[in-house]
């Protein structure tokens, strides 16, 4: 529920400040701990065998996909297992057992040593190859990171993203009476979802930033999620419509293509894709969102969308805003053939 009570809002805001301070403090402590761990690792105060054994114990029950599971961590496990010991333990609980085992071991040792030596050699070679690979991947990642384009951002534009904006009426009119599921990204504080739900539309929203305290999202099904990941996790053909606002302006060409491709895949036959965008001129103006200076992207000109959505198989039209600062693109998926 989005709170209209200023008292509640103030209390929530003060709690948010406290929570932000707690997180910042945690970050500081974590940074100090990381420095100390690095310092001790280089000092070599822990015997390598013991460290390997303990790390192996840690990794034994860690999910491979978990955070912090790097190739280097996995290699520690490989390194710990490359040597195959041919000297079989001979302890026994039975009388004479040890002597018998010792005899068998002596008889077989030349053979076992020959085999295990080759297996160990092979494992060592594989481990070395993986270490080389790890070094190369790490180096490559460093270079890629240096070249990386900043991730796309959802922009929140006060004059364009509010319940009384001209395009909100167009979108709600377009989607009223639809029975299927409708996604709005980035949903902000839920201004469009609320309007759609009020008209009986089964709408939900996603925003990468927590614009209002999470718990107040519930009754409207608004979620804090990465938009591209969300769209990628939507079942094919499961949506009646996707509305994108504040999303495409700040995303690069590849991200934009991926996002649009995912959104179109999520639409069922006859589905609608609605894209609200600032114009390039508004993006360049003084009252543009600060993200305009920070991302290597600019909005398309309205007519570009006809071709972009046409390539994705949609029939597109553009409605320009009253003062030329923004526009709404409507793309339709062909209905199911009879």
């Amino acid at each position: 529920m989005l709170s209209d009570d200023p008292g509640t809002a103030q209390e929530g805001s003060s709690r948010d400040d406290e929570n932000g301070a707690a997180r910042r403090y945690l970050d500081e402590v974590r940074a100090e701990i990381d420095d100390e761990v690095r310092r001790r690792r280089t000092s070599g105060d822990l015997p390598p065998n013991l460290e390997r054994e303990l790390d192996q114990l840690f990794l034994a029950h860690s999910p491979l996909g978990g955070r912090g599971a790097a190739l280097r961590d996995m290699l520690r496990l490989v390194d710990a297992s490359v040597f195959i010991d041919p000297v079989v333990p001979v302890a026994s609980r039975r009388p004479g057992g040890t002597a018998i085992k010792k005899g068998l071991r002596s008889l077989n040792l030349w053979y076992l040593r020959y085999v295990t030596h080759q297996v160990s050699e092979f494992a060592t070679a594989v481990s070395r190859a993986l270490h080389v690979l790890d070094a190369q991947v790490t180096d490559l990642r460093r270079k890629v990171d240096a070249l990386a384009v900043p991730p796309s951002v959802a922009v929140d534009v006060a004059w364009a993203h509010h319940p009384d904006a001209w395009w909100v009426e167009v979108v709600t009119g377009e989607l009223s009476g639809q029975s299927g599921r409708v996604l709005h990204a980035a949903c902000g504080d839920g201004f469009l979802v609320r309007a759609l739900v009020a008209r009986g539309v089964d709408a939900y929203g996603v925003d990468p930033v927590e614009r209002v305290p999470g718990l107040e999202f519930d009754p409207l099904d608004l979620r804090v999620e990465n938009i591209e990941e969300h769209v990628g996790a939507v079942a094919s053909g499961s949506l009646e419509a996707v509305v994108l606002s504040g999303v495409v302006e700040g995303s690069g060409y590849v991200e934009r293509r991926r996002l649009l491709g995912g959104a179109v895949r999520g639409l069922g036959p006859g589905g609608t894709l609605l894209v609200h965008s600032l114009t390039p001129a508004a993006w360049e103006s003084d009252d543009a969102p600060v993200e305009a200076d920070m991302v290597a992207a600019r909005p398309y000109r309205p007519r570009t969308w006809i071709g972009v959505l046409g390539d994705l198989g949609l029939d597109a039209t553009v409605t320009e805003g009253p003062d030329g600062r923004d526009y709404l693109v409507t793309g339709r998926v062909a209905p199911r053939s009879p």
């Binding site: 709690r15 406290e18 929570n19 301070a21 707690a22 997180r23 403090y25 945690l26 402590v29 974590r30 100090e32 701990i33 100390e36 761990v37 001790r40 690792r41 822990l46 013991l50 460290e51 303990l54 790390d55 114990l57 840690f58 034994a60 029950h61 860690s62 999910p63 491979l64 996909g65 978990g66 955070r67 912090g68 599971a69 029975s179 599921r181 996604l183 089964d202 939900y204 999470g214 718990l215 519930d218 009754p219 099904d221 979620r223 804090v224 999620e225 990941e229 969300h230 769209v231 996790a233 939507v234 079942a235 094919s236 499961s238 949506l239 999520g266």
Partner: protein, 397 residues
């Protein structure tokens, strides 16, 4: 509203994250919202054998009507060989192999599934995703189905037999955002109505003794780890880390492992194994601990972390466990370790700095107070279930 829960084990004797969570939600729905709640479960207490030890039939427990059905088979010996074979590349296993895995894992409960077909519940909640009653029950249910996956990053999540379980749900209830991300990386279910709920923390019941007295270690400072003492829960790893820590950092610090013991922990003068303890003793022990440690990498929520924060005790968690780490990051109430090195540095820092402990404990307490109090949490859940039912009826109309 009439709500049904489907869970493979049910009862006060059951120690298990998902099953306990189902029971708590069921009982709080009855007590705080006045909902009519029934549970479909088995006669088993043991999640490995699934032996039928409780009598089948109907009973009422804390206001909840419980229907128990005997299983026709539990986990069979062939399970282990198949599991070992499939867990290397679970996503590559065929649907037939995955179905076999599900049946071999048990509990196979055709009577429970049949009973679900005739349930007059308005909404049915399935908890967790992993077992036969959920997979087959979801196919049979005629009311809207809410899936509580209680998923963590385990090989079974990638088996094809669960694809229809996730995609067939009418709504999903997650413990944490981390669980949602995990599920959505594997299953395309983002468009389904969903909620991040978690569980509430019950009021503290203190016994009035000092934690050291309960543990029999007097005034010695100690750290605590609460929960099943089990290899899979990271208990052996924690014990080994602590033994090494004590060798390198001599002093009075002790480790208390509080919970039923299934792992083999070598005896050590600084490690206390309590076995199962009463709620009051547990509270006394946790309240006086320097730090509460959750060593498990496989948690989908971890109530023990929140219970420590309820008592303003800071926590240390396994860095590879996304949900517990997310709790720490969001609250600022705890630190995490991803190796022995980190374990040592974090524990030294926490033990040496009372100001840090106080601050983390307070942040954790605020987090629990804000998000995980039963009355608010159960109201959210009830609203969510009502919305799921409303959406289902609208679609039918």
């Amino acid at each position: 509203m009439k709500v049904a829960f489907v869970t493979p084990r049910y009862g006060a004797e059951v120690m298990g994250g998902a099953e306990s969570a189902a029971r708590q939600l069921a009982e709080h729905l009855v007590a705080e919202v006045g909902a009519q709640v029934e549970v479909f479960s088995t006669c088993a207490l043991d999640h490995i054998t699934w032996d039928n030890v409780l009598p089948p039939g109907d009973s009422v427990f804390n206001g909840v009507t419980v229907h128990r059905f005997a299983s026709t088979s539990g986990r069979v010996p062939e399970f282990y060989e198949l599991d070992a074979r499939l867990r290397m590349a679970p996503a590559e296993a065929s649907l037939e192999q995955a179905r076999l895995w599900l049946e071999f894992n048990g509990p196979v409960t055709p009577d429970l599934v049949e009973a679900l077909r005739h349930s007059d519940a308005e909404v049915i909640a399935f908890y967790p995703y992993l077992y036969y009653p959920t997979v087959l029950g979801m196919e049979a249910a005629t009311a809207p189905r809410v899936l509580h996956p209680a998923a963590h990053d385990e090989p079974a999540l990638y088996l094809k037999v669960f694809d229809a379980t996730f995609s067939g749900a009418d709504a999903i209830c997650y413990h944490t955002a981390a669980e949602r991300r995990l599920v959505q990386r594997r299953h395309r279910v983002a468009q389904l109505p969903q909620i991040e709920l978690g569980l509430g923390v019950s009021p503290v019941i203190e016994g009035g003794r000092s934690g050291g007295d309960v543990l029999g270690i007097g005034d010695r400072p100690y750290v605590v780890s609460v929960g099943r003492v089990d290899d899979h829960k990271g208990s052996s790893m924690l014990a080994a880390f602590f033994r090494t820590y004590k060798k390198r950092n001599p002093g009075p610090l002790a480790l208390a492992l509080v919970g039923p013991v299934t792992a083999s922990i070598p005896p050590h003068g600084d490690i206390v194994l309590t076995g199962a303890v009463s709620e009051a003793d547990k509270c006394d022990i946790v309240r006086d601990a320097e730090v509460s440690i959750s060593p498990s990498a496989l948690e989908s929520f971890s109530l023990v972390v929140l219970e420590a924060w309820e008592l303003s005790v800071p926590v240390m968690v396994n860095a590879a466990c996304d949900p517990t780490r997310e709790h720490c990051e969001r609250s600022g109430g705890g630190l995490w370790f991803g190796s022995y090195r980190e374990f040592e540095v974090v524990l030294q820092r926490l033990c040496a700095d009372p100001g840090l402990r106080t601050r983390l404990g307070r942040s954790g307490h605020d987090y629990v107070d804000r998000y995980y109090q039963w009355p608010e949490l159960i109201s959210r859940y009830a609203r969510f279930l009502t919305a799921v039912r409303g959406r289902y009826e609208a679609a039918r109309a």
